[in-house]
Symmetry: D2
Subunit: 289 residues, 4 copies
């Protein structure tokens, strides 16, 4: 089995670092202690970094603000690539008119509004406007009445042959030390099984998420996939997604995969990271460069 390696020695070998957010930079109780040192080092070394996250609940600006509130100022809006941004790109390219119905909060609907389309929460769909609905988007698990609006969603998809987008593929997310919450990806999976239709999913492990980040970088500099490394805590999203896209990958043990079970999990899933590190935090001596 692979040995645990030093995180600093790994990032020294790459030009650009992609970080997953939850389980890597932060946990239920706040920032991973010492993570700001990692970003100080990256800045000092003039390495670039991006946060690549399955989070469509808030805009990049709001997400960045949440890091600043915790004391991590290096994570700015332009460093954040969220699955909500892929949904926005889909709308820009593919939907020209009509209503975009959504499940989620008003915050999550910001991703949908900029396209000049009319957005409407599922609760406001009725017989007078249902024929104008051209797209349904699952944005976030909050902001709607589960019982009433999910039943309404099932019947909307039975009556209208329209595409459905899932802006976050995760089935659950951590909310407390030992508790998780059901994510919109899990809810969308239930609706998909009931209506028997095929939804479009954005977010890791899907390649399009990594491609979006890669394209964004290539707009201002030349880069090869060999110069990028993906850092994540989840084999089934961060690691297999990064591997498939052709990136080297680092599994850290501060989130979904723990020091006690990473060997079993890698063997059971056949998902093999390039490296394994205890965390994305640099040792105390690192900044003495």
């Amino acid at each position: 089995m692979k040995r645990i390696e030093d995180f600093k020695s790994i990032i020294d070998r790459y030009e650009i670092i992609f970080f997953d957010a939850f389980g890597v930079l932060k946990t239920h109780s706040g920032l991973v202690p010492g993570i700001e040192r990692t970003f100080d080092y990256l800045e000092a070394q003039k390495k670039e970094y991006y946060i690549v996250t399955n989070d469509a609940s808030r805009s990049p600006g709001q997400l960045a603000q949440s890091y600043h509130n915790k004391g991590l100022y290096a994570v700015t809006a332009d460093r954040i690539i969220s699955s909500g941004m892929l949904t926005k790109e889909y709308l820009d390219l593919k939907v020209n008119d009509g209503i975009v119905a959504y499940l989620g909060t008003a915050d999550s609907a910001h991703y949908l509004e900029s396209s000049g389309l009319h957005t409407l929460p599922v609760r406001d769909i009725n017989s007078s406007n249902i024929d104008k609905v051209n797209l349904l988007v699952f944005m976030d698990d909050e902001g709607f009445d589960w019982c009433e609006d999910l039943n309404k969603t099932v019947n909307l998809l039975r009556k209208r042959t329209i595409p459905a987008i899932v802006a976050n593929t995760d089935y659950a997310y951590p909310v407390l030390k030992n508790d998780v919450g059901i994510a919109i990806g899990g809810i969308a999976g239930m609706i998909e099984a009931i209506v028997g239709k095929q939804f479009i999913r954005f977010g890791k492990p899907d390649s399009q998420m990594f491609m979006f980040a890669y394209d964004l970088i290539r707009e201002y500099r030349n880069i090869s996939k060999k110069e990028i490394v993906m850092v994540g805590d989840t084999l089934q999203t961060d690691i297999i997604g990064g591997n498939k896209f052709g990136l080297d990958t680092v599994l850290v043990l501060t989130g979904n995969t723990q020091a006690t079970d990473y060997e079993n999990r890698i063997e059971a899933t056949g998902i093999v990271p390039t490296y394994i590190c205890n965390s994305a935090v640099l040792g105390p001596d690192v900044l003495a460069f």
Copy 2:
């Protein structure tokens, strides 16, 4: 392709008739018109019949009352075999003490209470009683707060290694002419995917549902599976379930499978009923025997 046959000529060949309820005896708008003639004929011919239904929302007595309220008096409580009764049998055989947590209405919880166990809706599980919970049962889609109690259910199953029973395997049920409701089977499927555990499901197409009815009959008379026919409107539950148990099966076109698409659906699924009839209603001349 099979031709449409006369329902009377079919039931004349069997001793016992199993009927599905929804889509066969009743629809969203009430009883299937004329269905009472079928039961008059069965009574006159001294044929036995049972309603075999994936409905754990109410007791057999309450279900029978709902038929009486509509004017069909032949369906009595002792003629109804519901998936809730299999859940009750499981409790009687397998759970001796502790708390049975459930999602559903107080009506549905009647199936759980007679065993002398302590039953508790999921909403009332807390840190003082969670360690005594020995079983979780998904009974009905009503009677609880979807968002709050489903999140609570996920975390209960993450903290306690206990069996989970799904008392109704259906994913959806009809509520209006063109609308369906999400059934507890669909909700349970979402929770199962999120926690990654394997639930126990009762209800058609599972054989145990048919066996329960068959055993009940054999307590008072000798009967062979060749003398029983199952009548249903759904290929994936009534027909494949009946076929697998070794019964002959009748597909009727008054519910989930329609006259316009039954040929396509049989071909697409490979689920082949023994007979196909327009409905379970007898023609007007039938009673002139």
Copy 3:
């Protein structure tokens, strides 16, 4: 977590013992050492026992002979209940004429022949007889050319709307200390995914397998499910199947589930046996009764 219990103390509490075969009575290298003492004890105590096995490759007589060859004479043909017997019952009840096509050895086809139907290996299906094929049965992974006959099977099911039976639900079976073989259940799963049709599967964990054994016993004696215990090595077949049927269950650690990981596996799957024992072998002092 449940503690390891003594096997003798458990069987003393039941009238009838159901045993899985592979991983309980025998392994890749022969009989589980000492297992014959268990059967001596059962005979002395006048307890009944049955071998309940997902094995349709040979008749009960041939299976019994294989135990006799290894020195275990207690396992006679009338003690063996195989998934092949459920296939035979299906044919007796549901198929009256025409050809039954099958994948498997000539030995496995014995289950099909006694019904008076014409059986034909898939390799012999051609344009002159394909219209008479009324059933397809997946019996065994041996006895046919995988490439040629599986392609033929796919096209048979595309051309003929007929039921398909899988006589063994297992995906793999052990062949050497560290090697497994692909079982016919795994092959059938591939064909089912390709043709998009729904097959009928017999064998544990399905209830019909347990019901078949239970019915057989009730023909000559009164028994309650509370008086039967199921002994198996596999959570996903023996244990969840036995639990669901309403039986108490014993997990033994001589096969698929090992002493090193049984706690993790029970927690991960949520499949909880009533008891856990190191093996189905009685200690050396047992026979000193």
Copy 4:
């Protein structure tokens, strides 16, 4: 429902056309009659085109030759983008040394050999070299003994924790007017279910296939996704894949989706093409421009 549109009027609106191969350009009996006129027109209009195909059985050069042999000279090797090329990119980026084991013909192995790695058919893996195997690739359904080598593959993946690549995601492919063959994607699905590990799949509908083509074009010209249209016969690969990547899509009715059922299939799957055309062939008057 969408109306059938004229193919010429559609391609006039785009700069670059992506074509699926089977069911669009060719069928079991050869080229789609008149398809060469489409390419004459594209050449005359100076439009670019690419064949985007889930075919890893032969190199682009060999695939192009097969079109030339049929009389279609416009399809040259540099116009063909196959899922085999994504496998090659993965090897170049991610595998530095050791043995790449594969299932497929020697022709399909060409995609693997250019990276300077040692390639070995699964049949030649043995105890002396198994520890050096760093990757397994499912290339093609031909070139190996299904029974022997698939069993060997299962045991290779049980013994070695290595990534497995599926170079063609299709489950089946047409071989005669009414017959299909099992494709390597279907076989890989069976192995994945048996070993319980997660494979990496290349090919439509996955975005990475479209991204590979898009990147190739952007190396020599600026292009927006709005200027590309994907033409295909299969909703589940060509159309949903193109839609998700942000391309407009044309469903043609010369392959998997027929004039008699396209409306049902679109409604059942919820996969909606931008346009529907009878075929990718231009009318006889088209070349009189």
